[in-house]
Amino acid sequence: MASVTFEHVTKKFGDVVAVNDLTLHIEDKEFLVFVGPSGCGKTTTLRLLAGLEELTDGHIYIGDRLVDDVPPKDRDIAMVFQSYALYPHMSVYDNMAFGLKLRKVPKDEIDRRVHEAARILGIEQLLDRKPKQLSGGQRQRVAVGRAIVRNPKVFLFDEPLSNLDAKLRVQTRAELSKLHHRLGTTFVYVTHDQVEAMTMATRIAVMRDGVLQQVDTPQTLYEKPGNVFVAGFIGSPSMNFFDATLVEADGKLFVDGGSFRLEVPPHLAEQYRKYKGQEVIFGIRPEDIHAKPYVPPEIFPAEMRAQVDVTELMGSEIFLYCLTPDGRAFVARVDPRTKARRGDVVDLVVNMDHMHLFDPKTEKRLE
């Protein structure tokens, strides 16, 4: 068990900067998820921590130990690879025992640990098989098993669920969370799937183009995204953005989007009044836009009209792809009882308690 510290870490591949001046402290026992689109540097960050890539600049500590020049084998970490990377010529048992054998752990101790890990993961009956004879989900478990028998200081996961089908992914997500509680070890996890990040992480680090955008709990990241990129990346469907102006009338503050005008709730108006008259990016999540007859109580409502372009019935909800009167597209996630068809003009109610404002130049959140 150990904390992990990145100190001004930079990694360049030729002229390409994969990770740019990353500084981040991961607490002991934390489940930290790096998330971001492909090519954002999250996997490179993990590989730097594993020692599979060399640092261009900066330092990495595992616990208090500087590991910049320590080879992977001496870092006391275990990694689950995206492809699982099981040794095809070894049985499941040997795959899991390999790391222990190399460390000259006594035979009966190896046997005990492998069987315990297999029991935790429910793969005891597979120990004699070769990886080729296993299903994707089983292989994934073996890969996790190979990591946990070692009792490392830090677990690294590189998109371990991306090769599983949707149902199994949901199930495995819950199991990994449970495993984290049970082992009480630091987990560092990389994924491009924000749902995985939201469901498992104690903290999420959002990356883009090698730059760390924001690190926070899933809740904070969802409620107070630090910039437009984070706001758009976390949540599905993505947050809607409109270019708008903050205007004041009759002592009230409004978000004026040209074809719509939405009142800012009083408690936020105080905070935002200083931006009066300025151009802003107005952000609102699809789940904060409701169809008129089915508005939940205790929200600060503001009405707008829109034309329905496409509807998607999800069963428990409907995604309405709408156009404002001046033709700007946005998505609303509305009650499944809503009767709206393509071409209809619908009355929508926006929950302005959950509005977000961003600076159009810096794209940073306005507080």
């Binding site: 020692g51 992977p72 084998k73 990377a85 040794y87 095809p88 390999f98 460390r103």
Partner: protein, 290 residues
């Protein structure tokens, strides 16, 4: 009925291949076996006499011994060097030029290679200027010149070195392809698991390359059993360097003894068949795994 009538169709498609194989493979084999039981002009039946000669005469014993020397030393070193080079070349930045240079001898005809190495091994008596590269180096360092191709202690190995020089590149290229086919993540997983570079090679890389190493080895074994050109050009089997294929050639074209030459050919064929079978079985096993 309709089905039955078309039974001849597969045979039609196979006919050209069967014809060519029959004329150029089956007929010569049967012919060779037939001639091996006749005298030098293929006129009188002599029973097992040619085989008796092949298995008991002194010159054939030397040839057998040398073929075994070739079999062991050539195969071990050519596959060993090929493997080491394939793995090491992967780690340097100038990999392709390096591999091209090592592969280059393959592009030279074996006769050409023999001539080149004849110059390298050239020998003049002590005191005379040495025009051979090796002896020039040795005498420059104050040593005695060595008759590489005539000294019976070294000449077989001198020839084997030429074979290794020619074939290492081929082994390297095939093994390199297998090495590159191993997913990088497997090697990384081993490193994270705590393996040193040597342990990664020993426990992960090598076992995964075994099928390819087996194919390369058996191919080299077949190759070496037939070794001819290098010996023919450089020593013509003199000074105790005779090998089976060269002896066969001599019996056939120098001594015009069709019976003995055929007997040696049959013995060579019988020696190669088991290796071929191993190779074919190996190939089928791999196909079955796909």
């Amino acid at each position: 009925m309709l089905h039955k009538r078309r039974d001849w169709v597969p045979w039609l498609y196979m006919a050209p291949a069967l014809l060519i194989l029959g004329v150029y493979l089956v007929y010569p084999i049967v012919g060779t076996v037939y001639y091996s039981f006749f005298d030098k002009r293929s006129e009188h039946f002599v029973g097992w006499a040619n085989y008796k000669w092949a298995l008991t005469s002194k010159v054939m014993h030397i040839a057998f011994r040398n073929n075994i020397l070739w079999l062991i030393f050539f195969t071990v070193f050519v596959v060993g060097f090929g493997l080491v080079l394939a793995v090491l070349a992967d780690r340097v930045r100038y990999e392709s030029p390096l591999k091209s240079i090592i592969f280059l001898p393959m592009a030279i005809s074996f006769v050409g290679a023999g001539v080149i190495w004849k110059f390298v091994y050239a020998y003049r008596p002590k005191g005379a200027p040495q025009i051979g590269l090796l002896n020039a180096i040795i005498t420059a360092l104050g040593g005695e010149p060595v008759g590489w191709l005539v000294n019976r202690h070294v000449n077989n190995f001198a020839l084997i070195v030429v074979g290794i020089w020619v074939w290492t590149g081929f082994c390297m290229v095939v093994l390199s392809a297998a090495y590159k086919g191993i997913p990088r993540e497997l090697l990384e997983a081993a490193r994270v698991d705590g393996a040193t570079e040597w342990q990664t090679f020993r426990y992960v890389t090598l076992p995964l390359m075994v099928p390819t190493i087996a194919v390369v080895t058996t191919t080299m074994v077949i190759n070496v059993l037939k070794v001819f050109d290098i010996v023919y050009v450089m020593t013509n089997g003199d000074f105790g360097t005779e090998v089976l294929a060269n002896r066969m050639y001599k019996e056939m074209f120098n001594f015009r003894n069709y019976g003995r030459a055929s007997a040696i050919a049959v013995i060579l064929l019988l020696a190669i068949i088991p290796v071929m079978l191993i190779n074919i079985r190996r190939f089928q096993e791999e196909e079955a795994l796909r």
